[in-house]
Symmetry: C2
Subunit: 341 residues, 2 copies
């Protein structure tokens, strides 16, 4: 029933200019590339010399733009972002691939740990536009953003810890943010150019799962200003690790340094009998094996402690509340590793 | 430091036509709407009479399209999708809001449970383009799609269970799929119009976390053919429930019936002493409380069994392998509820 297809071609993210129209043939073209050269003569993509001129383009609303050889020029937001980011010393991305592995929770611990040093100014930017959890995790879900002559003010969790999220902009936390990519990208650009972050030692960017609009846009917008690197968060399961492999590939392709791997939910110690259970079993060796296989540093393993999730729901700092938990120690060991200094 | 802003306006997903160009002022406009009427005279959006004609549009590559009053017409994929879907009796979406709550795992159990009846033909479509886990969960990750005169053939897990995922199209499982929304939407359209599903009793669609391109596109493409409804999957934590509230809002706004809620990872029974621990604590009452609050039916609660994750990693059916597990019973109770019949 199954036949081996022709050698596949990995999709090239750079084949779509950021301002490609939504219905441009490049979308279908690049997808068809997966299946080999079928119809390539018809579907040329926006960067081809035949863009806007082939038969397949007839009737497309964007035919004229594609046919025009006028260069589209750089994104006008870039110089504004560069200017705003000039006062931010370090920029760290938190990525995961898979959702629900504790990425936002790790982001929050990192933010709180940096901010424990009163000399440091830290910002946390939540670019998970459709599922913003940073306001809840930091206990500031009821706050709202206001704007002034110097830009949009972030929400201050404490004097030296500012956060920004679309969650602060919704009239109700029940409202779905049903935005397609271009709108999400526009808001991310605004977060970077219009938010009055002030002088920051660290800007930690929490991302949604995947390797799509939000990730490409953050990298595109921040790359000129310099990104220190990305922390990849995972659980021990193979289905999470395979998404981390894709995330490592993403970092390599866009030229972002991988600072290291964090394995969350590594084991659960029963409060009744102290038996340790591997709830999310490392069927293929977990993050340690992935680190060995890819050469990426394993920063640490954080055991599963139900109080971590509880702290996130209540918006309190797990590190401050449960300093004696082995999970707190694991977080602190990870955060004090030299890649963050 | 904080000031209460003017009353906010929830973003309206319908304000962006599906073929709005990527850099069209509507993106910024809709974002600015959140902050009130500032600059609205300048930024009109593609549906305004002033679209393409205001000062803010000067120099925009898409000015001519926006200024034109020519109707853009319906998506040409729609009649093809309608024709292909004519042989599919029931279409069910699996949504979650938050990632990592067991959405793909539930999708797989649903697929396997339907397919246990030899008289039923079931299809599973994975529209998680950047993090496809369905091939691994069904144990068919090494397969590749081929095309014939009748379309792309899905991968058959067994004679009456077919699956389709972008995972089958990648040359390596390590390849990141770095696609922005428009490319993802194009592939989803192709899955619906070009895949030779044949006669199906059920098509179960597994979605990525969120309420963005993939979700809007699936609904847009399938709505005319009829969608039976959506199952919402969650864990007991508040940070997961708040994303489910947004997902309920999404369903309401796009006119999709919510079939019910499934609470995964509801409790963990220690194999050593049988003590039950709430790993993901229901700090605000869990899915039961959410069901009460929203009027959505709670279909059931599935306890946390580490063998579920292990089965997913090994690509085997948990229901077949561990029929005596309380989690299997919970899944079967949910799946046999009348909303799926």
């Amino acid at each position: 029933m199954l036949a081996v297809q022709q050698p596949t071609v990995a999709p090239d993210p750079l084949s779509v200019p950021s301002n490609a129209p939504e219905h441009c043939p490049v979308s279908l073209n690049s997808q068809l590339e997966i299946f080999g050269p079928t119809n390539r003569a018809e579907l040329q993509g926006t960067e081809s010399e035949l863009a806007g001129k082939s038969d397949a383009c007839n009737g497309c609303a964007n035919q004229e733009i594609c046919a025009s050889s006028t260069p589209k020029g750089p994104d006008p937001a870039l110089p504004l972002i560069r200017a705003r980011m000039a006062t931010v010393k370090h920029k760290i991305l938190v990525l995961s691939g898979k959702g629900g592995v504790g990425k936002s929770t790790f982001t929050a611990q990192l933010g709180w740990a940096f901010a424990a040093d009163e000399q440091l100014q830290t910002g946390v930017m939540d670019v998970d536009i459709c599922g913003p959890s940073i306001p809840t995790i930091f206990g500031v879900a009821a706050e709202q953003v206001h704007s002034s002559s110097s830009g949009w003010s972030p929400i201050y969790v404490q004097d030296n810890l500012a956060v920004m999220s679309v969650g602060f902009m919704l009239s109700s936390s029940r409202d779905a943010v049903m935005w397609r990519g271009p709108k999400k990208n526009g808001l991310i650009a605004q977060f970077l150019k219009d938010v009055d972050w002030g002088d920051l030692d660290y800007l930690v960017v929490d991302t949604p799962p995947g390797t799509s609009d939000e990730h490409l846009s953050v990298v595109q917008y921040l790359k000129e200003s310099g990104i220190d690197g990305a922390v990849l968060v995972t659980t021990p399961q193979e289905v999470a690790l395979q998404d981390v492999r894709r995330e490592i590939d993403f970092c390599r392709k866009v030229g972002i340094r991988v600072l290291g791997l964090v394995e969350n939910m590594s084991g659960f110690v029963c409060p009744g009998c102290k038996t340790e259970s591997q709830i999310f079993r490392p069927t293929t060796g977990g993050a340690a094996s992935l680190a060995k296989e890819t050469g990426v540093q394993l920063l640490g393993k954080v055991p599963l402690d139900p109080r971590i999730g509880k702290s996130a729901d209540y918006g309190i700092s797990f590190l401050d509340e449960y300093p004696d938990s082995p999970a707190s120690q694991a977080y602190l060991d990870i955060i004090s590793s030299k890649c963050f200094i």
